[in-house]
Assembly symmetry: D2
């Protein structure tokens, strides 16, 4: 069977160690470096993966929103996965975003991710179509049943336009469908209630809660999350690793100060003028411009149809990197 063959070849790269349960630490959602003509720059991706791993990341998340998954066709997604699995080389697990509208389409991505050697999958609720909580639960169950990799739910209302109901997360945590949650909802009140409920059921020992926030990680760790998936961690992975370590040592005031420094750096995402480009283009464009200025990647291009940053904006990126002591 072809699947098995591909899979075993991929297995050379994937970790033989069991996937950590729960996953903890800093798991940057890697940007996808592109060439000027829109192809995946695999070397750039490996460099980026190496940099964040060396900084102390405990996992790599590819093909998420920061990774421009929505903008990549299947061939490009496959290239990203292969490069990431190679770069991780078994040192850290690779979580693969399998972003698509419904279970049938997600499962197709999931099968390819498994073949490529991904360690775990990250799927959103259905989007484009309107769904009921019962249908959202069924969506995750079908993905989990089809591909035997740990499955994370990706709660990102800004993209899918529904918030994952706490009741669905609890149900799927309890029955083992989900290995964890990446919470990019920004709703830290709801997150707190979820954490309290998971703890009450004894589930926090195996179900990983990761915040997708860049800006309130200290508070989220204080509240009990296991880790963080910060887009800004592409630019300053050491900052997030430091913040995480300080929190784990209970040095909360220092953790807060580190978070403050990173929050100031997050002004990166505003360098693109709102009148001229989408928020996505501005944020991802700035992360890539920063990686380019830092010498990590060779080209700062974002995928079409995103508007590129102009030279004024790139200058602002440089200024912020200098202020943060990164350049």
């Amino acid at each position: 069977m072809q699947h098995a063959a591909t899979s075993s070849s991929a297995a050379q790269h994937s970790s033989s160690a069991p996937f950590p349960a729960p996953l903890t630490g800093v798991v940057p959602p890697l940007c996808t470096p592109l060439t000027a003509d829109g192809e995946v720059d695999a070397a750039g991706l490996r460099a980026l993966a190496g940099r964040v791993t060396d900084a102390g990341a405990s996992g790599l998340f590819v093909l998420g929103s920061s990774g421009e998954a929505a903008f990549l066709d299947d061939a490009r997604r496959a290239t990203v996965l292969r490069a990431a699995v190679e770069a991780a080389d078994g040192r850290v697990p690779v979580l693969a975003g399998v972003i698509d509208m419904t279970p049938a389409r997600v499962i197709a991505h999931a099968e390819r991710a498994a073949e490529a050697g991904a360690s775990a999958l990250v799927a959103t609720a259905p989007f484009y179509t309107r769904t009921h909580p019962v249908e959202i639960a069924e969506h995750f169950r079908r993905i989990r049943a089809a591909v035997p990799l740990p499955l994370f739910a990706y709660d990102i209302p800004v993209a899918v336009h529904t918030k994952l109901p706490a009741s669905v997360v609890l149900e799927l945590a309890e029955d083992g469908t989900l290995a964890g949650l990446k919470d990019s909802s920004g709703d830290d009140g709801a997150l707190r209630r979820l954490l309290v409920a998971l703890r009450g059921r004894g589930l926090l020992e195996r179900f990983a809660v990761l915040t997708g926030s860049e800006l309130a990680v200290d508070g989220a760790l204080l509240a009990g999350v296991h880790g963080v998936v910060p887009g800004l961690g592409n630019v300053d992975p050491e900052g997030y690793v430091r913040l995480y370590a300080l929190a784990r040592e209970g040095r909360w005031t220092e953790a807060a100060a580190e978070q403050d420094r990173l929050a100031a750096l997050f002004a990166l995402t505003d360098v693109g003028p709102e009148a001229l480009m989408g928020r996505n283009s501005s944020a991802i464009g700035a992360f890539k411009a920063a990686l380019h200025l830092l010498g990590v990647i060779g080209c700062a291009a974002t995928a079409p149809p995103q508007v590129p940053l102009d030279s004024e904006a790139v200058k602002a990126v440089r200024h912020l990197l200098e202020e943060a002591g990164l350049l």
Copy 2:
């Protein structure tokens, strides 16, 4: 070149006649009949396509929202396209939905649609990601540049969570990027202003405006749209053909009465209880239940993870069909 070969084979099915500019009339967005185990029922689709064509449809739109495009993986989408092109057999054009998040992914669908013999493409604005109007325009331009088929913009805010700005539509109508618009925004005020602006620029003679509404088609035709793409036209294509003809003859009061009858039938979409299923499951489930009761398709299944209608809801479907004189 492989494309050409595949394309020429498909060309046996596709109309040799030029695509009508502007497209007019009733273009039902075909449901995708499925078997109980979730495969595309090609025979059912051909039967459905034949039924609406015989009723006087001027085109077939497959892989739209009513066609559950979001729920179908690429293989199933291909099956749908092949069946529709076969069924149309050159009698009416086949418009293919190429629903995906961004241009790179849409273009992949568009190439497959062209190979399968589709006559035109129907694409939404980018979704999942946040975009700027400039990026939306670029999105359509890239699709149009990549695949030389007439391109329709599909304005469906309930799914993509942005409304197509009138300025973008006008720009892309004027420069020939778009051959038309399927307006499922439900914003008849904005539609009216767009029609007035298109007429003022002399564009209504080649740019087709089709309303995706089932419920205010008489008013839309009075306002100047060229045609209608009614989901309910799966169930009662003759009703919409009659409504269209009455409007074209200026028999507005009779057109309104026909619209009223169809609006009453639209209660179909409410048979599924909101507490138990999504609005999508209820509407598509009811259309399919109706087609099953009418003997057009062999199985009323909707794609996972949609909740199926219960027997109570199916009874309500039967009752509405009887009231409408269809059963």
Copy 3:
């Protein structure tokens, strides 16, 4: 008591004739002319009221969104009501907006409106607070029970952020709580289904459905609404009266042409640059600038904190009035 005195003096102005059931025709939602220092210009309001009445309006609606009700304190609202009742002088009914958050507050406005001689009340669903359909129904019942004037529901989701559920409207139409509906939801599909349901229950003979749209009035009349409450009717009342008359005579094509002309004139609402002011400031500012240019009112000021139109925008207003043949 002073109130009683005012009330009896107002009673001289209020129509002794019964309120029409259902209300039909063109009922412009009057702008509230203001002086440069923000006081209500009662003379301007009387001039405006006189102008639209002379043009053939069948009623006056004051203190709606076009009337900047949200911006007026209770004293200014009272001045508006007195001026409108005086100007109407029993020739046409005066509908009074009683815009506030919840029944207790709405009822206070309603009592003052009744004292001032208003013929009917227009209330939205609760806003600021989140409500359930059962609570929305109770809201209208309490208003109706407290003040014995015909009560219209004002469905305006852009302001109150909920859409009035059809089930609530039907229930309150059936039990006599409501005398009618002003539908500013822009959802003509939902409106059609409501009309069909009201007709099926025999309610259209006493329950008035008025569209608040400026742009699809021909279609709404074809669908069966009783009348229209067009903000643009401040500027061109004769246009809407003509459109209404053409529709009533079944001259639909001519009605559509008149609607097209008015839709072009509606570009007024876009003269204020979106980067500099809210949509409200732009639309109301343009209506008032037009009324000023037409010599109806002495000052085009809008209420604080709205940004005023700049001279460029006023020039655009003048141009549109000229194009429409009004200047």
Copy 4:
């Protein structure tokens, strides 16, 4: 004149001490106890105010969302203010919500609040109408200019449907228009960036940032907010005072544990079934039911048209109070 008399009598109650800049600590947004027939229960309000003050609250906020301000007419609002000022008796400042749509209406409330002896005002952005950031800034400036009391901006998107832009807050903090912010946006990422920006400008020493969250107060204090305005503080003021004190002492792990306990208690807000009542009715209804069960107020009624809790829900409230050790 009666107003003057009331005012001077109120002045006896209002603190002669200057309003703290910045305001810190726990400032519960007091519920408004009502009698069974909907009148303000002034004795109940004084009891509640006394209880939270004795527990260590550093201020009282009346006529906020928890205080059902939206549901109270002007007379009832005045009763609430008088009772609160009396109860505070100069021991703690009384912040008065002046919730209304636009500056003219807010100023009318603000004048009455000043007369009643309030120490500070709390106003939202304009609502019902659509506004531009420039207009929002002007709104606050006008309120501040009209009534010489410290002014807090109340950022509550769930009610007003816009988020206060950080740029507006910074501008109004810098120029002295605002004395502080009550952030009920739930957007802790944006809050963090605002805190960093305020600190960078040296404004945190006089501009108070208060979180309106009940659920992530530990994280917010770690991030640098000055205090908290927790609706749940009506029920368990001592819990929030304890949480605040632990945070101030840098005992973060204990603070987090206290927050966890309070987050579990927050399940109160879910006791009302979503199918039967609005979220507002459920949350405020539960707070009042708890205060009734705790013997603080004599009647748990909420204002019309809110649906009251049924006996099942009240039983759930009792259970949660017992679990939290409050009963």
